[in-house]
Point group: C2
Amino acid sequence: MNIDRLIEKIIDKKNPSVMGLDPKLELIPEFIKKSAIKEYGKTPKAAEEALFNFNKGLIDACGEYVPAIKPQSAYYEMYGVAGMKALLRTIEYAKKQGLCVILDVKRNDIGTTAEAYATAYLGKTDFFGEKISVMPADAVTVNPYLGTDGIKPFTNYTDSFLFALVKTSNKSGGELQDIKMENGKPYYYAVADMVKKWGEPSIGKYGYNAVGAVVGATYPEELNALREYMPNTFFLIPGYGAQGGAAKDICGAFDQNGIGAIVNSSRGIMYAYEKKKDPENYMLYAREAVLQMRDEFSDITLL
Amino acid sequence: MNIDRLIEKIIDKKNPSVMGLDPKLELIPEFIKKSAIKEYGKTPKAAEEALFNFNKGLIDACGEYVPAIKPQSAYYEMYGVAGMKALLRTIEYAKKQGLCVILDVKRNDIGTTAEAYATAYLGKTDFFGEKISVMPADAVTVNPYLGTDGIKPFTNYTDSFLFALVKTSNKSGGELQDIKMENGKPYYYAVADMVKKWGEPSIGKYGYNAVGAVVGATYPEELNALREYMPNTFFLIPGYGAQGGAAKDICGAFDQNGIGAIVNSSRGIMYAYEKKKDPENYMLYAREAVLQMRDEFSDITLL
């Protein structure tokens, strides 16, 4: 495992942010849907086309400026087989444009089953002797609740990296994550300890290992404390923008070289056209939003 | 939400066990694969056929005796789009035979994303105005780490039920689940408290609510204590058979009427043919294994 590839793309593009791709048909500009329906009728195939073409437009408009995309698997699973086809095409297209793909699946299971998940997203599946990457992401998110044997199988891939949930961005995240342990610390510190341990063997040349942590932008104090507690852990930070986190809330996540974290924005980029009421030009507004976000962070990180 | 439908099937078939369907091409009998390859070549379509036909054989052989199946999503995701097609066909076929489908996906996310997952597996997705069930399970497993707003969307479906991870069956499950809290109890009791709260509004006529708990067979003492602690929570119990749990380890999970839990066996049923070295007759051996398991439990539960 190795996370340097992501870090190098961040440095190269001077942008520590990742474009979330969480498409919903209802929010996809009409002209994209109309064209898909014209060709395929109101079918799942048309849905696949609309989902992919919307994503492709976002990648075309913004791919030059972001190091990575983060598709949220739920929004593809919601469209069943058609959605999975759109996800696969999105991943393949993004990789062709040189982007890292962090697939947000939050998978978790016992060892043998975790192996199957790791094969699905980071490895190759055996189809009658032929090995095929069925959903070739560069990284996945995982939920750590099952402990080491549920994480281990994901760490067997040389070029991949992971992000394990530590402190999530949502309002009710604290209900189970902030519970005080016997030692007085909140529970997510126990999770942080495991994440540190899992990552140790994979330390890269920038001082970060390949088992990153998901830490929400919406709890800045906790974010800063975790940064100090896990100096070699790369952070994936959701919650920026639509969920309420601002750039200033996140500045503590970066080291003196401006690296250490990647910040996600999904709705703020994908649906930037809504504020302008101009869906035809969604690509333009997405690019504007990406550049604005990049600039906010380059002021802070001096990347 | 309501879990009575599952309980009634358990009573009807006098069998509190569920057949796990976790197919791997390598372990599917040759004759099934040969026939799929003959028709479709060594293609993903042949994989879909082999996965589905293997499952269909198991449902045909055992469906009369089990109340439910539990497909483990990882084993389908591993085959990409072909796997998702096989999963959909398996779910639809099982439901046609009157079986409940508990889809083991262990999903977890923030509220808006959890809504997408709930739509995918329990609800209907909007495809250009037409509502379609893309993967119509009766129940899913969920991971509770994100708290209430990640669970709530799953509770909006009248006929569905859930199982939230509390204490898993795997060896390293205790690393994060058994950590002592300030109040001296292991952490999974905090999870149990949340699960109880989430379930409360959905209590059914047998005294169990629709937010069940996953509690492993491999920790019998903890299982008994949790049974007492959560008297209205239905248990989904993995870890029987291949993972080492025996019927006697689980007897405490049932109430005086013999209900309160459903025990999963996957490998012990699906691959029962291996011990006999007779893959051609895998259906027969699967049925034998199902009946043996049923009898072990009916001795205990007097169902």
